[in-house]
Subunit: 339 residues, 6 copies
């Protein structure tokens, strides 16, 4: 099975431990980005995973590529050129103090990529699944067009398409997002969202929920999923439900609506090591399960278990095997030492 993910991979610069930006004189340098994170997860699960992007020719571009290659991602379709690699700075929060992200991603190689950079006919050769998120079309108008071209080509070839709405208010307005995503979602089979995306992008709100107070009304999200399904005829809508007790503790679960019925996952009480990439690890678990024709309940349990484990891992990438996920799905979340 072969999956293509398309988007940006950024340099992630984070002070060590819980240091604030104002205290740091060292940064941990890793790489990440919504679609790249999905690509790495899938490679870890044994899927043939192709990441499509554009990176500058200099050594920092090479470092990003090398990190994908290290974890088994096929990087042969990454175009080289452009001026810079996007950066995001991450300050890790704890207790009542929230994590902070400063983006420095404008003018990156991928944000300035052009339609002619990508030959989708060739990229989609013998591919089963295409994944992108709402970040990619938000990077530039040209990229929104490229996403549409890719979606059309994928549809032509009978490739399944998943999209994580992933609304980023610093990249575009809700109106712009609505317009572009409404067009792209026509091609999408599986829609992934968090507890805020549907409201931000499509104005579909959950009742009785206040995300900053940590209260999530699970039932009302089924209604959100149904509305999304009704609007775009998605074959599946998956919504992650994060209850933020603090920056250190979250409750984590999700629902999957398959067009007929809603499935609730188990809820995990997470002690958070690093929550960035949590949604992406969910998406990758979902794609894996769907590609392998797991039933709906099993599918949502795998997606949630994969992402629960991600929260215990430093960096954007989810370095877990499918065996580790299976074990958690089967109920061993005791964290006993594996000798």
């Amino acid at each position: 099975m072969k999956v293509v993910s398309f988007g940006e991979i950024m340099l992630r610069l984070a002070p060590e431990g819980y240091l604030k930006f104002l205290q740091a004189d060292h940064y941990e340098a890793t790489f990440g980005g919504g679609e790249a994170n999905v690509a790495v997860s899938l490679a870890n699960y044994g899927i043939e995973s192709v990441f499509v992007s554009k990176l500058p020719k200099h050594e920092l571009g090479q470092c990003a590529l090398n990190n994908l290659r290290r974890y088994g991602v096929d990087t042969s379709n990454i175009v080289r050129g452009g001026e810079r690699i996007g950066i995001y700075y991450l300050e890790k929060g704890a207790s009542q103090r929230a994590s902070k992200v400063i983006y420095d991603r404008a003018h990156s190689a991928i944000a300035e990529a052009t339609i002619s950079d990508f030959d989708w006919d060739s990229i989609f050769n013998e591919v089963d699944w295409f994944h992108f998120t709402g970040i990619t079309p938000a990077l530039s108008c040209e990229l929104a067009d490229i996403c549409e071209i890719a979606c059309k080509k994928a549809k032509e070839k009978g490739i399944k398409i998943s999209c994580d709405l992933n609304y980023r208010k610093k990249l575009w307005s809700k109106e712009e997002a609505n317009k572009t995503m409404s067009k792209l979602c026509q091609y999408v089979d599986v829609c992934i969202a968090n507890e805020e995306d549907a409201a931000d992008v499509f104005g579909i709100h959950a009742d009785y929920t206040n995300v900053t107070s940590g209260e999530i009304h699970h039932e009302s999200y089924i209604d959100v999923a149904k509305q999304l399904h009704n609007q775009f005829s998605f074959s599946g809508v998956a919504i992650t439900l994060r209850e933020s007790i603090s920056a250190s503790d979250n409750n984590w679960s999700a629902i999957l609506f398959d067009g007929r019925k809603a499935y609730h996952s188990k809820q995990y009480k997470l002690r958070i090591v690093d929550r960035v990439g949590g949604g992406d690890s969910f998406g990758a678990g979902l794609i894996y399960a769907l590609l392998n024709k797991f039933d709906a309940q099993e599918t949502i349990e795998y997606a949630v278990a994969a992402s629960a484990l991600k929260h215990s891992i430093e960096g954007d990438f989810n370095h877990v095997s499918i065996e580790e996920i299976s074990q958690l799905v089967k109920g061993d979340g005791s964290g006993r030492v594996q000798r």
Copy 2:
């Protein structure tokens, strides 16, 4: 608005992470001290913040000064001279294991400072507030005298005075503390204390409370505040109430008595990153709120929120902005990523 803080700044040497002294071969070197911590907080909030102390001329004295300067504190009134900078060694606890502090502060430049080192008339030029803690007069008899001189001069000039009782049993006996602090507190407008200070310094005990078992009887602290108020005619008495569940988890709140009425803050459940300086960050929040004429409830909420955030930050200094505090006061303690 301009605030002067007076006291010692020490080199703080701490093993990395949760290593014990017996395991460490590296120390994290930062700087801190009760009044210096207040000075940095106030500078962060945009107050013109002056720190008065004495530091040796060598590079380590310069490092202490540079660290204050880095965070915006006015260091032009720090006298240079003397032999050494005080040190405190900190071993961070976790779970049932307590943090440990070893002091090596005797013979420091400030502890051996003399009355002629400080020209309070000049220091207090256009100043609105003067802050010190019970640590400063405990360092030497001369310093107790200097504190009294400063207090008198401040009173003369109509400068408000706050004092955090901050009893340190390794610096002086309860009897010595009582004698000196009773004298100094005559000049003090705002008195700050933790759940043990009033008992240690003035023999005023809270009923029904056992701090090592983590039980705090909130109501009885109102009585403590009233007694303090009655004894010294403080315009305000603020007492922090720490419930120590373990070295990793504390409940944190405070009360403010304004001479007529007691105000309770919200209580925060803290996952502790570093609790040293927690009381100082409370004091700084209080001073900020009082300087800005916040009402009593708002005042105690700002002070507690500021110090709740401090517990999530490494080092003595509280590197948060007034915006971050406001957000927590308004109720967002969910720790959701700020993108």
Copy 3:
């Protein structure tokens, strides 16, 4: 009082913090092993503590020896020779993600030691107690024989013997363990086990318990202890009871059966820093208390408090003093800063 511990000390290589093996390019290098950990604890408590083992002559063997010596263990009976030092790689888990251990201990100097390497008559000169665990005889047939020789010699000399069952499935089968441990346990006075060992080694199961779901039925472990006692006439059987809520949170307690009555310890809610060596620190606390003729209730409280503190300390060794344990036994688990 003088205690001899016999077993393997390994190089422990662990990625920093919560990094997975797949992410690490640095390892923290410490040393540890079931019996070595006990030896270090006892030296910390002021006991004359002798560790007997075999280590290669090269610098890494020397490093292991130096680390024992650093913490006050008598290393004069460590034989030097053989090819390699055993290694274990440790990946620290968090939340739902379990810690992982990869052993690389085959062919170590101690695993290839021979009967003639150890002169027990001389080693046991003026010794009060002999401790080993089920790991040592599992390393090789020759070591099982050496353990038996040592036990016989100890019995001859009136030395008390303790054994921690410590079943390791990667070293031997349950059948092999049963056969060898049944023979050795005839000499043992005090038997130590965790919640799984009795079942793995002797087929004695606790009712109503599922360790991977975190549920422990305390009463049924009294029955396990009684069965162990009945089978081998141990003068004491101590069983640790770990409830694994997650890799970050455990509940920790133990029972002691003295042949007539069972004693339950207090239960601690642990925030885990490093749980490897938790059982060993329990054993050392137990031996200390028994050597000092503490009563049964006090004995089990000291053993559990010692090991509760261990969970807050990095590395295999339990760097706490007997005063720190006493303080926790007396009820101060509040983790308040010790200034």
Copy 4:
């Protein structure tokens, strides 16, 4: 004495030690830039040193400002705004392997600053000296105009002006540099250059010199200095002469032409710790000596000694005192321990 420096301060990200970009997963984060480096040096020498620039409002902009403030630079004229802070990535070379710099400075706050951002009349209040380098006007056309405005205003106020030619081929072509710098140099009193700048910017070549082979023909640089002097009527021209034996070893000296005569400094054999900022530390030493009316020989010796010491210090900034420079000028380059 008060000196204003004007230019960009960048975040400098460097792998630790001699690691290549391709190996690094940590970066040391410091700050630097040609004019900022001069400003810090001057503050170290006790000069009132003002740095003028523009930095974004976010925490990374604040970090840059804090680092200047930490070392005593007056940052009150740094404008806050714009999108990003410029970055340069530095890979440290050794032996035959050259250091590498990757610039990511386009679109920085200062590069997009406008004329209205700076009120030179106010900035130049009671100022003695104005310093900039060829980097600042190369950042944008607007900045070239701002430099000219500042120069005119400085001349009006009788402020001395120094300019380090500092040609950067990635910022502009030789033709652009020639045109702009020819205009600006009309206002300049003291011109600073390295062994390549005069050729790159003004086409003035030294005979018998091949910088990549490490051969420098000192005499011919006197001729270069004279030509520069003749063209722009500089009151002084100082040229650094670096003989690069390898990335680890350089010979370092300079000449000063005062309009009548050339003065040669001593030559230092450098073991290089970090050579970035070497030229800037030379400029600062020169300005210090000229402000203090040192004679020409002493002036060039101070400038070269200051920069010789810089090569032994990590980071862009030259953390040495004027006493340390004096000692080296006096001839103690033995590096004996100062106890």
Copy 5:
């Protein structure tokens, strides 16, 4: 062009900086081995580079594989299985103190590999060059046989074979080496050796040379090369000539004998960052130049320049591009900053 390298890749554990084993409590963990180092170099030069070996299935085996993959090596022919990955511990020397290596490579997966693990017919599909060193056949008798099988198959397919003699006295005696290498060298086209190998393996000594005193008599090595050529009809013999002045400074050059004439390279004065892998980087440069039909003088210059640069890079792998080598060959060893 496609090259296959066959051998062991080990975990390399090195104390940081110049720490001795006895001081270290952290190890830098990288990977390396004679043939793996060649494979990485070739991938860096754009050659299709395949590494053949055997690694255990656990995460440490995966880490080794991931590190090769990260740098572009084709790892699809690495067999997974066996018990352990070989380790070498490296203590870096300086000045008069030599670097030390402790091997712990016995019983590694590759050392216990069997003939049936490798299908050379498939591995050698469309391959141009086969490389191994004297280490591989020294690991076990079975591996010596496997090397012979591989050589025969390569010869059959018209694949060029290079062998670096790489004598390791801890792996086999000179007699064993002589016997096995004499057999294997019949198939070899290009023989690579250092200044000691020919004497150790074939008893061919250079006159007038004492390697521990740092004196190398270059002319006599031409004679060694000729004797090697005469004995085995190698089409090329390349010998590296290291003059060890100290652990920090070496002179580095080489000769190439092409069957008719000897070519001397330039000599480099090296300031050593890390000299392990120096010989391997030479071999890779040589293979690259020969594959690209460089003339003999150019070939030896590329090989020596590549390895000169390696000495400035941490770890076994030579992270330089062919452009960096070309630049050094052309004469720019000045180490000037590349901006």
Copy 6:
């Protein structure tokens, strides 16, 4: 053979690498002191080495003791008590920049020790050699007295005494040193000095020498040795001769005068990793050689080779074996990798 060394062991705090104090926010924490360094060296050479001192009871005192114990020093005669452990801060120099030491050793436990703390009769039981340096009597008048008591007792018991003059200008004046050392040197058999000590303590100057310019006139030091011998009837006088080319490069040799004849050692060209403790390692090598009755030439060669190696090792302690020294004495200073 058993040697007693008496003096102070301090906590040594050093910024990492070549960072200046002004840049550091981490310190490497090791331990050292003139006599402690000798004690560790001797333990490394297999001598029974006893260190006598006083250390506070707290964990930092324990850390110092543990570090000696780790390296095999007998710590059973270290008295526990007093307030603090002395500290020295070390900033490592490079190239023309000198290393800097800031002492913070006043009021240390040993500096405030009293005569009754040490029972020399018991300490000197079965001892062959007693070593101290000029630092110990400089710490306090009481310590000068204690040194005299110890010397007398040693003489009584026929124990050989060595003293390293080790003049420290921050501890006492030349006059005080002269007076006290003149008294103590009456008991001393072997006198050790560096190229400045004889002049500082006894006013005996070498002709034609200027230590800050790096010029040492070797012959005139023979005259210094003779004068020292004539004044105190030392059986041996050893003087180290350091030519400081820069902080990175020194030439290192020594002379030994045995009362009749002077012996010159070989001279080593050192690339310095850490030069602190260089003199102490010389002293230890000398004592070892004299205890083992090496002839005079061999003695001075061992002492110089031991200390040459020390300069390549981080920290005060010289972690080399007698085998490593022998190898260097025999002439292998090539630094070739020891595999």
